[in-house]
Amino acid sequence: MSKAILIDTTRCVDCQRCVVACKLVNGLLKASPSDFLTTDALRPLTPDTDLAMDESGEEELSARALNVVQSHGSVYVRRFCMHCQDPTCVSVCPVGAFRKTSAGPVVYAEERCMGCRYCMMACPFGIPRYEWNKVWAPRVKKCNMCAPRQAKGLKPACTEVCPVQAGIFGERGDLLREAQNRLRQEPAKYFQHIYGEQEVGGTSVLYLSAVPFDALGLPTNLPHDALPSYTYRVLSEIPNLVTLGGALLGGIWWITKRREDVSNAEKEDGDHP
């Protein structure tokens, strides 16, 4: 069984506690943590922490913000790593720096990484961020679902602090059932889809929404099969290709060589009848 997070966007009130909690546990606050512990202090923190903004002036995911709340009209959507069941980043990394743990989180080993950034290219959700301004050892940054906290039996910090249960933590199977219940009990309230149940083979972060998911900035053109199969299908043909190709090339060489030998021999015969 693996853990997951269910986000119900109809409940989120944009209090930003999850954002602050995330920064706290990941050591991403510039000012001292005590400045941010009261709710009133939360709102003005965004401009203060040197964060990337998108066109609308909203905080964007960055190497210093692994979890952000974005508003789409009156709907607030929390964005962070989706922790795919069969993660694209795990499959594409040439040195195996990413790993899907059996507990659910997708974790990153910075000491393996060589910085090719194929994970950033390939992620269907566009999640991984890079420390572009570090000279010596830039890292890929993304949410790790608080894997170290989970190992100690704690919840991910973001779900721990949510005052309205907009993000809840639990077994993926349980959360899927919970999501289905909510869709069934209040069909008028919800857009009838659990985002993340099947997208790219399923994710460990699930979303519920009142409006279609493309209105929330979530990609809706994703296939239901896991993306790693797209490349592995080709890669697994390599042994065959090498064997067949080698035999074919060797064969062609043998034939052309033989033809040359024969024609040389014939020429010699012609010279000395």
């Binding site: 393996r112 090719c116 572009w132 890669l235 290709l241 062609i252």
Partner: protein, 371 residues
């Protein structure tokens, strides 16, 4: 040639000097201030010119080496032997420069050896890394006889001669794998790459077009070196290559059209977007015009006509690779990428260094003579 005289300060050398100086400054910037300062790369656009051009185009442009090695040794068409050595040299320099360019682009270049010991056989990048590494070794061995000849080292020469055929076959296999795999790199982004370029057949297209551009590069560089060194050009040989290039373009064109048609991607032609313009350019400049030119005997068999067709094919190839690796991804990334001048300076320095090394090798080694 006299060693007392300093090299003449020609226009070409002046340009090279400017490029290499700019490249030197950019290199300092890259390694003292980081990727953020030296490039326009962002979280939304993590791959730029150094991957799109230096690596993905660079590897393709060096495809002449394996194509010609296969023609000469596997298909035993010995008459092409005189142009084999320069092609192997170009390929070797090309791949060596790709490796250098990677050192610029990798965030932690000192970890470049990690794929040797940290394996992930599900990763296309892992496979490309191994193939390129091995093929660079093969190319070094294929070219090394020229160096051994220069220093009259008979024993290694004999040894290399004995393993020529297996070496060539291994080289062709490795090239087939990684040329196609550069296309497979993008199989993983079906939702991000524009439908003009995303196709399950990407590896096949990348392989065929690499063979095509490999031939074009052989024609291109034969012309340049003949002009630079004041040699006779092997026109009948090159015209025959031109014919082969026409066949490759034809096969590529038919497959590509069939694929675009089958996926319904041609419907996008009605949309007046940047992608449509770039796609049309790529197809017309890199495929239709050169194919038409090559089918005309009077064009194919003249030096200028063949050279023009080769230049068009190379241009189309570059457009295609940059479309797949950069411009075709812009619409989904909701971001625009244009390289910073320092990125361009590094890329031009790579090209310049390639020309410089080729020139030096051509002067001091026996590159243009068959063994």
């Amino acid at each position: 040639m006299s060693f007392e005289k300093l090299p003449k300060f020609t226009f070409r050398r002046a340009v090279l000097l400017v490029i290499l100086s700019a490249g030197f400054y950019s290199t300092l910037l890259r390694f003292t201030k980081g990727l953020g300062a030296a490039t326009h790369l962002t979280d939304r656009f993590p791959w730029g010119l150094w991957i799109g051009f230096d690596v993905i185009c660079g590897v393709g442009l060096a495809a002449g080496g394996f194509t010609l090695a296969a023609i000469v040794y596997v298909f035993n068409l010995r008459r092409f032997h005189p142009i084999l050595r320069p092609s192997i040299l170009t390929a070797f320099l090309g791949y060596a420069l790709v490796a250098v360019a990677l050192l610029f682009d990798l965030g932690k270049p000192y970890n470049i050896w990690h794929p040797l010991v940290m394996w992930n056989h599900h990763s296309v990048m892992f496979e490309v890394a191994w193939c390129v590494m091995l093929y660079l070794t093969v190319l070094a061995l294929e070219f090394s006889p020229v160096v051994f000849e220069r220093f009259r080292m008979e024993r290694p020469l004999k040894l290399l001669k004995a393993i020529t055929i297996p070496l060539v076959i291994v080289g062709v296999l490795l090239s087939t794998l990684h040329q196609s795999s550069l296309g497979s790199l993008f199989l993983i982004v079906p939702s991000k790459l524009h439908p003009y370029w995303y196709s399950p057949l990407l590896p096949v297209f990348f392989f065929i077009s690499a063979v095509g551009v490999g031939i074009a590069m052989v024609i291109f560089e034969s012309n340049l070196s003949a002009r630079a060194l004041g040699q006779e050009i092997e026109m009948p040989l090159l015209a025959a290559l031109g014919k082969a290039m026409a066949v490759v373009l034809g096969v590529y064109g038919i497959l590509r059209l069939q694929d675009l048609w089958g996926r319904g991607a041609l419907a996008h032609l009605r949309e007046p977007t940047t992608e449509t313009l770039l796609f049309a350019l790529e197809i017309v400049v890199g495929l239709l015009i050169p194919l038409f030119l090559l089918l005309l005997r009077q064009v194919r068999e003249t030096r200028e006509g063949l050279f023009a067709a080769a230049v068009l094919v190379i241009t189309g190839f570059l457009l295609n690779r940059l479309n797949v690796s950069i411009t075709g991804l812009e619409y989904s990334a909701h971001a625009h990428y244009f390289p910073k001048w320092t990125e361009v300076a590094v890329t031009l320095s790579m090209v310049g260094t390639g020309f410089l090394c080729f020139g030096l090798a051509a002067r001091y080694l026996n590159v243009f003579e068959a063994d």
